[in-house]
Symmetry: C2
Subunit: 425 residues, 2 copies
């Protein structure tokens, strides 16, 4: 690299990793253990354990229970630096930040994940937040709780019923988990804490555009989940694409439904990172990579997780990103130290799971499946085990045990001083 | 009450309590145990354990650890209802809500607490948030952490030093606790998590307008606290009233100081409730009450805690409000059941305390005092014991133990996607 180019850079590292999700962090830890000069850039200061974000939204856990400061995770590796910034472009051998600063790289790892897509209706996001950040989870929690508060004080029965109706759009694992949790939370709160509300006035709608929920699972697990959700009071609407969303209203199959709270759990799109490269993009705007996670046409750049597309496509799961991150870290360490690197990443399926509610979950291990209380217990065990450190594991275990015994949810906080009351006209 | 007046009311109760702080909740629980028809109105859905709010601001605890939904606390009392609403006036025998609704009362209890005063400079609040709500605590946490993040990436040494300067205005218990916690947090983060920062570039300023910190404690405890804070690296500025506050800057004794984060812990004013009554107000706008907590001139209305002024003034402490609430609950139960009520509330001093930092706190029991590690341990023990329920006690105890051993703070989260970088020009 020429001296005058280097002078224009604001920072530089042998390996730059953009995104500190499951994949980026694993990769950074591998490089850190080998002492490779690494810079991790993320627009948030924390790594989020997204599989449990729905529990923050439904007041079962606190943000800090499922989020870990990136600096804390990587602090022990002296060769790893962390930068809180947003990447907006790649130019030659440098990433460009939103404030115009440029960070040079020897090798670049893109692990920028995915976001919800509103299928061209970005204005829906305001009325139907998705579960992608702590901020959105808190927003959902406050809207849910505020709808119940407003229902308690209204004297108009139609308005009360509307406020007690929660719509969850999307029947994938997140939608199923939200629907089960909202039904449980609402039923419990009405029975114990609200004097003017009746459980029969509460509705939880799970709205799926396709013919069945949990489409990524075998059909028998979809049936089991649907049965359990219906028993918990969830109304499942299938083949029901959402046509319009406005404050307090949602239109499905030409029929408007008045709702107190809308939660979006449909349609994932990859991060915009493919656009930074100026190369041909894979399906849905993903970055095409080879079997070794190298970007096609840019051997100094790697991509993984939800934003990358391998020759044999893999599901958008945390375990895929984690395995890719670990593998890529080892590959880069080998390359940098002059050893022959492994050529091909192979995914090992650890099982796909979704929580439905108290004593009910599904597990799909490919060759065999599991449902019922045992799956539920295994789900809880696996998720506690996956949390980053001992303190968090213990905190979550304490809260889940307390919740299982008391059915109380401890984090039912509306944190704003003047929260918006849901608009039902 | 005439039939036509009743018809105009949106709700009604034998006893209406405005404010679910320490005093309001204790009073409601006493009335609930006796089955008295009670309505509790608060503009927040949770009761906040304010003595630990500084720990949320300094990333040691999560909001849910120190806040409990009011409905959860009062849910077991069938005769007690809860309403999330803001009271803005009192007319005859009804309170008026911000949306114009009216709630009639037989007896009214005003327990609306206090707020920070900015001594006529309300525009300072935006740049120097105080510790009165979860929202403000989160705001302070994010600003503190963002200042360190911005310092890590700047290349300008003067800007870096400014960003690493935190000013705490007010040398009372909250200011002292914040100063000690910020010094501890900053030192630890710089040593472990930031590569470009040096501990010697960090400044923590504790700015007090009067001649000593902890003015409510005996002078020897003030001296002890000042000595411990100075050893922890806190610069104490005495006789130093703040003259101006702007983004990234604060003026003390005509000298501007560039700062990354300003925290307000000075000057308490009572809630505006005295203005609702249209009666003569006590000093600083408090509501004058007799020895039985009845408002002078309105025997059907009672007031307590920070917003009330007794013939013999009491300090603005949680224990005062709690004792008054318990006493008033019993008095009202006696009155309503036709028994002769106790006439005079007597405060029993349980000791006044402030935390300074690791292994250091002060206790003032009037006749004797305590400092050092034993006071620190007693402080922790008392505060865990005062938390509302077993789950929260255990959660906080786990986190404090983990923090004591690892010196890590688990809740170092910047929750906004695009947090504002502190402005230092």
């Amino acid at each position: 690299m020429a001296e005058n180019t280097q002078a224009a850079l604001d920072a530089q590292a042998d390996v730059v990793i953009v995104g500190a999700g499951f994949g980026g962090l694993e990769c950074a830890m591998g490089l850190g253990r080998a002492g490779v000069d690494t810079l991790v850039i993320d627009r948030r200061n924390h790594n989020l354990f997204q599989p449990l974000l729905y529990q923050v939204a439904t007041a079962a856990l606190s943000p800090a229970d499922i989020a870990e400061p990136i600096r804390k995770t990587l602090g022990r590796y002296q060769s790893v630096r962390v930068m809180l910034a947003e990447v907006t472009d790649i130019q030659d051998s440098a990433v460009v930040l939103s404030d115009g600063r440029r960070v040079g790289f020897g090798k670049l790892v893109i692990a920028t994940g995915s976001d919800y897509t509103y299928f061209g209706h970005d204005d829906w996001r305001e009325h139907a937040p998705g579960l992608k950040s702590l901020r959105e989870a808190r927003k959902i929690r406050q809207r849910l709780l505020m709808a119940f508060e407003a229902a308690e004080t209204t004297r108009d029965p139609a308005k009360r019923k509307a406020l007690l109706t929660t719509a969850i759009v999307g029947g994938g694992p997140t939608g199923v988990e939200m629907a089960g949790a909202v039904a449980e939370l609402g039923r419990f709160m009405i029975r114990r804490d609200f004097r003017a509300l009746e459980v029969r006035d509460m509705r939880v709608l799970l709205i799926e555009a396709g013919p069945r929920i949990l489409a990524g699972f075998p059909a028998n697990l979809s049936d089991y989940a649907a049965g359990r959700l219906r028993r918990a009071g969830v109304e499942i609407m299938l083949d029901a694409p959402v046509e319009a969303i406005a404050p307090g209203e949602l239109v499905v199959s030409d029929a408007p439904i008045a709702v107190g709270c809308i939660i979006w759990a449909a349609g994932i799109k990859p991060s915009p990172a493919a656009g930074w490269l100026g190369l041909e993009q894979a399906a849905k705007g993903r970055i095409p990579v080879d079997d070794g996670l190298a970007v096609i046409g840019r051997p100094d750049i790697y991509a993984m997780g939800d934003t990358a597309s391998m020759p044999t496509p893999l599901p958008g799961l945390a375990q895929v990103a984690k395995q890719q991150g670990r593998w890529l870290g080892a590959r880069l360490v080998a390359e940098i130290s002059g050893q022959p690197p492994a050529e091909t990443f192979r995914f090992r399926n650890r099982g796909n799971t979704a929580m439905i509610g108290r004593n009910a979950a599904v597990f799909d291990f490919g060759t065999w499946q599991l449902t019922g209380p045992l799956a539920w217990f295994l789900w809880a065990f696996v998720h506690v085990a996956l949390l980053v450190n001992f303190e968090k594991k213990l905190l979550v275990a304490v809260q889940w045990t307390a919740r299982y015994v008391t059915r109380q949810r401890g984090a039912r906080l509306i944190e704003e001083d003047n929260p918006t009351v849901p608009r039902i006209d």
